[in-house]
């Protein structure tokens, strides 16, 4: 279970530009829950995700992951619990690595990296199996350089990387926003399938009202760093995108 208690994030504290981006926010996410977050620009969605990932240390409050206090852990130490897919396909992978090297890197998320050779034959079969599930033909291209792939393909590999070792929580920051509509849909379907199959606790930011309602089991509406609506599955069911829009007034 993920618990956020009274989290506040203030940018430029004690300067004329001081802004409170996340405002005394508390949130509990149950195991296997798939939460979608929606909100306008500057609502604090990405900041919230970055705070859970460790990129930002909050000024107030604490974060528990399975009852372990991770509030002050830097990103690289929190990686053992948290994995993420970035919005920009260029950011989520190492462009000069091959697909295989990227997956080898991801295989050891949050583990100690030893002086054993990274390439282990028994891992490769699993990589091919996971890539085959994408139906993009990438399972035969393990030695292709990541930079040669299209944005959608990279995002798909990113997704496999993030879920190669099941995380305690998966963070998706508008990970389909930079893709064309068709590819965005493909990636979203894949994401949903992997999350369901592996039963991964997930927090997904989206700009699309439809995506927010169509996927997951709970939706949060964020405005000015606060959760203004927390909609569980049964309440969400009857809502339309139009209804969501009205909540924001």
């Amino acid at each position: 279970m993920i618990q956020l208690q009274n989290i506040s994030v203030i940018f430029g504290k004690n300067t004329p530009l001081e802004t409170t981006v996340v405002h005394n926010l508390s949130l509990n996410i149950q195991k296997k829950e798939f939460v979608t977050i929606i909100g306008g620009n500057g609502a604090g969605k990405s900041t919230l995700l970055n705070t859970i990932a460790g990129d930002i240390i909050p000024q107030n409050g604490y974060i528990l992951i399975d009852n372990i206090n991770v509030t002050k852990l830097p990103t690289h130490k929190r990686a053992q619990f948290v994995s993420r897919v970035f919005q920009d396909p260029l950011q989520g992978t190492c462009a000069h690595f091959t697909i295989e090297e990227n997956l080898l890197l991801a295989q050891q998320r949050g583990e100690i990296r030893s002086l054993r050779l990274a390439h282990q034959r028994e891992l490769i079969a699993n990589f091919q199996h996971r890539l085959a599930e994408l139906n993009l033909g990438l399972e035969n291209r393990l030695n292709s350089q990541m930079g040669m792939l299209s944005g959608g393909q990279r995002q798909a590999v990113s997704l496999v990387m993030a879920t190669l070792k099941a995380p305690k929580i998966l963070l998706l920051d508008e990970h389909t926003a930079a893709l064309d509509p068709k590819m965005a849909e493909t990636i979203m379907m894949l994401t949903n399938r992997i999350i369901q199959e592996e039963k991964i606790t997930t927090l997904m930011i989206t700009h699309s009202m439809h995506q927010a309602l169509d996927f997951g089991s709970r939706t949060l509406l964020l405005q000015q760093g606060k959760i203004i609506k927390d909609l569980p599955a049964d309440q969400r069911k009857v809502l339309t995108a139009q209804d969501l829009l009205e909540f924001f007034g």
Binding site: A79, H96, E101, L105, A106, R109, S114, L115
Partner: protein, 296 residues
């Protein structure tokens, strides 16, 4: 062995040929070290201009004081490693721009090297060096370079090495997968500068002297080796890249030996750094020039 162009005029004689290979091998070490910082860690590290003479200074002083040359070489590597760690520390802990941090260390090392040596140069004539008991100094040197090549190729292909390479490529992803990017910069610069110090220690023992100003242009010569290697060997993979550094360094030293020898051009040994800079500038400018010309 003598190469002739016209009857009677040698373009490179045996001594120059062996000298070029010898310096090529030493600069192969520096090339691999520069590859580690410039290419793997994306850190423009000029510390090497100071850690090269540092290696020579430490090894020479220990040797003239009667210490075992193997131990002297090893301690020289440690000293070089510390210099690299200091640069990385300035950058990682105090957020000083990498380039500036390395220039600060390099400048400080000039004084430190003078202190270590106690005078601007040390002669090792008649001293017991690593190469005294070797059947052939060149073969021993080649052996050391090949050993470093094998160890580095292995290291960069380990789980840890993959993390190191990722950290220089994409720090955001690296952190997201649990790599401490700051530590990786410390390791990379430490390792790189210990290799450069090794090169300095070997140079001093082969040529039987250490000089405080021998480090000028080390980085550019190393970079020239890396760049020439990259244009010769285009295959992907760390092993090829490291091999390219050695090959690039040897070819580079050959080209220089030829240029210095060619009558009519009028180049001499003092022009070395000019040639090195010209090569690096040309490799940086030519691709852009080509693009601009093609666009017209």
């Amino acid at each position: 062995m003598v190469f002739y162009i016209t009857q009677g005029t040698a373009i490179v004689n045996l001594i120059q040929f062996l000298g070029a290979i010898e310096m090529g091998l030493i600069f192969g070490l520096i090339g691999m070290a520069v590859y580690l910082t410039f290419r793997v860690s994306d850190f423009p590290d000029l510390t090497v201009d100071g850690s090269y003479p540092l290696g020579a200074a430490v090894a020479s002083v220990l040797i003239i004081n009667g210490h075992n040359p193997l131990l002297a070489t090893f301690i020289a590597m440690l000293a070089g490693g510390l210099a690299g760690l200091f640069t990385a520390y300035l950058h990682v802990r105090w957020k000083i721009l990498g380039l500036l941090a390395s220039i600060l260390t390099m400048t400080a090392l000039y004084s430190i090297n003078l202190r270590i040596m106690g005078r601007p140069n040390i002669a090792l004539l008649g001293e017991n060096t690593l190469f005294n008991n070797a059947i052939s100094p060149l073969i021993l040197l080649a052996g050391i370079v090949i050993l470093v090549f094998i160890l580095l190729s292995y290291l960069l292909n380990t789980q840890w090495g993959l993390g190191l390479r990722a950290s220089g490529m994409n720090s955001r992803v690296s952190q997201a997968y649990g790599i401490n990017v700051k530590y990786m910069q410390l390791y990379s610069l430490g390792l790189s500068n210990s290799l450069v110090a090794l090169a300095g220690a070997l140079f001093a023992q082969l040529n039987l002297f250490a000089d405080v100003s021998m480090g000028v242009g080390t980085i550019i010569n190393g970079l020239a080796a890396v760049i020439i290697g990259e244009t010769l060997i285009k295959m992907r993979g760390v092993m090829f890249a490291l091999a390219a550094c050695i090959l690039g360094a040897i070819i580079y030293r050959f080209a220089i030996a030829l240029a210095l020898n060619a009558q009519g051009i009028g180049l001499n040994a003092a022009d070395l750094n000019l040639i090195a800079s010209a090569i690096v500038i040309a490799t940086l400018v030519l691709p852009k020039l080509k693009n601009e010309l093609l666009r017209k």
